[in-house]
């Protein structure tokens, strides 16, 4: 298990917090809480050694969706596609 933290510039806080997903095989859980000034991401992943992949996936996501919030990701081996899908679900749920 590895814990990774990232921060990306973001200026659009969500209307409300959101929770999606489950810590199950090939999936992950996302907890999103509104914050100010940036997207703070903490990833706990069951698969070690993918720091760079995580950075790339998250960088790309937050460049497109600059949502200012704290994101807690509990990951059980989700692929980049699933990670992006869950993050999009979270910000959709966070809309007013």
């Amino acid at each position: 298990m590895q814990t990774l933290t990232y921060e990306f510039p973001a200026d659009r806080p969500p209307a409300r917090r959101a929770h999606v997903g489950v810590v199950g095989s090939g999936d992950l859980e996302v907890l999103m809480t509104p914050a100010n000034g940036a997207a703070h991401v903490r990833v706990r992943t069951s698969v070690d050694g993918f720091d760079t992949v995580w950075r790339t996936v998250l960088e790309r996501f937050f460049a497109r969706h600059p949502v200012a919030a704290s994101f807690e990701l509990n990951d059980f081996g989700a692929t980049p596609g699933v990670v992006t899908l869950r993050l999009r679900q979270a910000i959709e749920e966070g809309r007013a």
Partner: protein, 549 residues
């Protein structure tokens, strides 16, 4: 044959199985007022997973939603099967037990509150072994408390099914609703194969598995009540119907005679190979029972013996499961708690409660569960006839005795594993154990636990050294707050006169404490040990109670 209309219905239905736990709870409850308790943003995670390199989940895999069912107050407790195989750990277990207790509190106060358990679980979460096992005992106790006041409806929809200690909880439910996809059994196929070999149970043979544990079979043989299609609307109306029926006069786990008739109708085959039974049989149970007994030792069946022992002013009843090398159930010959033993314990305890019913509460006889047992019986015959229901009968009887004022004391003198301990001993209001290297208390044998958690035995030993609930050491176990006294003895195998005296003194003191203490298992969270090691349990209880409203 499947008719055309069946296909049309099949295509039009909304699958319940495909929903996650949170969506299942929402799908069952009435629209509107439902709200979740101890949800993800409360962040009460398991404190034991991260130190083992396992990613936790923010709700620990149990979703508790309070609301209404067909207009009646209800709480839905849904286990998330995708997280750790629905395994019950400290936090998830206490969430279930506390929600059931709170529903009982409301029901006593006049607001009858039903509970619905969505059971998709492999049983005790092996990464939290001993604490998981303890919380399953607490779940059973709280379920029985509520069941007397309001219906507790179990739903096993699948795909995972309901196994391990939680199958005993299923056996205690007022009503049990299953789908064809759902399964119910004490020991999962892989565990039986690992414990007893592929000849006993082939875990890759899916038709075999469903023919024994599947929803269709369980409803046909009366171990479940209703078989429904995997459809949200159908399940919701079945659950509302079950809740509307209220509390029956008698529950499945109390119908010991019916269960016995069911089991005795079969003739278990002679075992193919006795040598394969493995390991030495348990001998301490008989030795300690004989040493403590005032007079003779009796038994309705050869594998469950009883005796009377004078403890101060009380005459207490000792019950012990012992090996019976001639048992027709070849997987229950070495002192395991099997079909016969579960029912015999239930009969003995129920009999004692009936005999003392005319006495004032404080004069009711203490019941001593003396424990040296390798485990529950892992076998095909056992699963076919629903060993979980036999064990549920024993759990029911012990908890009923405790609630009626009988001090129930467990004295662990040797091995106490898994479902065996849940059925025989873990409903006690006082827990005693010998401080001896031969005492082993755990959720599963090391080899099988290693296999299930994808670890080696060496890795498991290393983790057990630093993760308290994983330890196989009795002094570590006592530190979890589950033990009221550890007894030092001179000879745990053949007790000396001094050992017998010590044990009698300790039992007498335990009886006095039990009479003074609560009749539920709430003291398990309030002991000095629990205050140190079960901080997560206490946090759950506090938060859930505060949010319950």
């Amino acid at each position: 044959m499947t008719s055309t209309t069946d296909w049309a219905a099949r295509l039009e239905r909304t699958s319940f199985i495909e929903l996650d736990a949170r969506a299942r709870a929402a799908a069952l409850l009435d629209d509107g007022a439902a709200y979740e308790l101890c949800g993800p943003f409360d962040r009460i995670e398991s404190p034991w997973l991260e130190p083992q390199g396992v990613v936790p989940q923010s709700d620990d895999g149990v979703v508790v939603v309070k609301g209404r069912l067909g207009g009646r107050p209800a709480v839905v407790i849904a286990i998330e099967q995708a997280f750790q195989g629905g395994g019950i750990g400290e936090v998830s277990g206490v969430k279930i037990a506390t929600a059931l207790s709170l529903a009982a509190r409301d029901s006593r106060a006049g607001t009858t509150t039903a509970a619905v358990l969505l059971l998709e679980t492999g049983g005790v979460r092996l990464q939290e072994a001993n604490l998981g096992l303890a919380t399953v005992a607490e779940v059973c106790s709280a379920l029985l408390e509520l069941r007397a006041l309001a219906p507790v409806v179990g739903v096993i929809a699948g795909a995972l099914g309901c196994f391990g200690g939680m199958s005993i909880a299923a056996g205690l439910c007022t009503k049990l609703i299953m789908t064809e996809e759902g399964r119910l059994g004490l020991d999962g196929p892989a565990v039986i194969e690992s414990e007893a070999g592929v000849a006993e149970f082939d875990a890759s043979d899916h038709p075999l598995i469903w023919s024994i544990t599947g929803g269709r079979k369980r409803t046909r043989t009366g171990l479940a009540d209703e078989l429904v299609a995997d459809d949200v609307a159908t399940l919701r109306s079945a659950v509302i119907g079950a809740v509307a029926q209220g509390v029956p006069a008698e529950h499945r786990s109390q119908r010991i005679g019916e269960l016995r008739a069911h089991i005795e109708a079969a003739r278990p085959s002679e075992p193919p190979d006795l040598a394969a039974a493995g390991g030495p049989p348990m001998t301490r149970g008989r030795a300690w029972t004989q040493a403590l007994a005032d007079g003779g030792v009796n038994g309705g069946v050869p594998s469950v013996i009883s005796a009377d022992v004078t403890l101060g002013e009380d005459l207490a009843r000792i019950l012990t499961v012992v090996p019976d090398p001639h048992s027709p159930y070849h997987r229950a010959r070495r002192g395991e708690v099997g079909l016969r033993e579960g029912l015999a314990l239930a009969s003995e305890v129920t009999g004692t409660v009936a005999e003392d019913a005319h006495l004032p509460d404080e004069r009711r006889r203490p019941i001593i569960a003396l424990v040296d047992l390798p485990s529950q019986a892992y076998g095909r015959v056992e699963e076919t006839f629903g060993i979980h229901q036999a064990l549920a009968a024993a759990v029911d009887a012990y908890a009923t005795a405790r609630a009626a004022g009988h001090p129930v004391i467990v004295l662990i003198v040797g091995t106490a594993l898994s479902g065996g301990l849940l059925a025989h001993g873990f409903q006690a209001n006082q827990v005693l154990a010998l401080d001896d290297p031969g005492v082993l208390i755990h959720a599963m044998h090391k080899e099988a636990a290693a296999k299930v958690t994808l670890r080696t035995v060496a890795e498991l030993d290393e983790l057990a050294g630093r993760i308290l609930p994983l330890s196989y050491d009795v002094t570590d176990w006592a530190r979890l707050g589950l033990c009221d006294e550890l007894l030092t003895v001179e000879n745990a195998d053949v007790p000396t006169e001094r050992d017998v005296g010590r044990a009698k003194d300790a039992l007498t003191a335990a009886v006095a404490r039990a009479r003074r203490g609560p009749r539920d298992l709430s003291n398990r969270l309030d002991s000095p040990g629990a205050r140190r090691t079960r901080t997560a349990s206490r946090r759950v209880r506090e938060a859930l109670t505060a949010q319950w409203g």
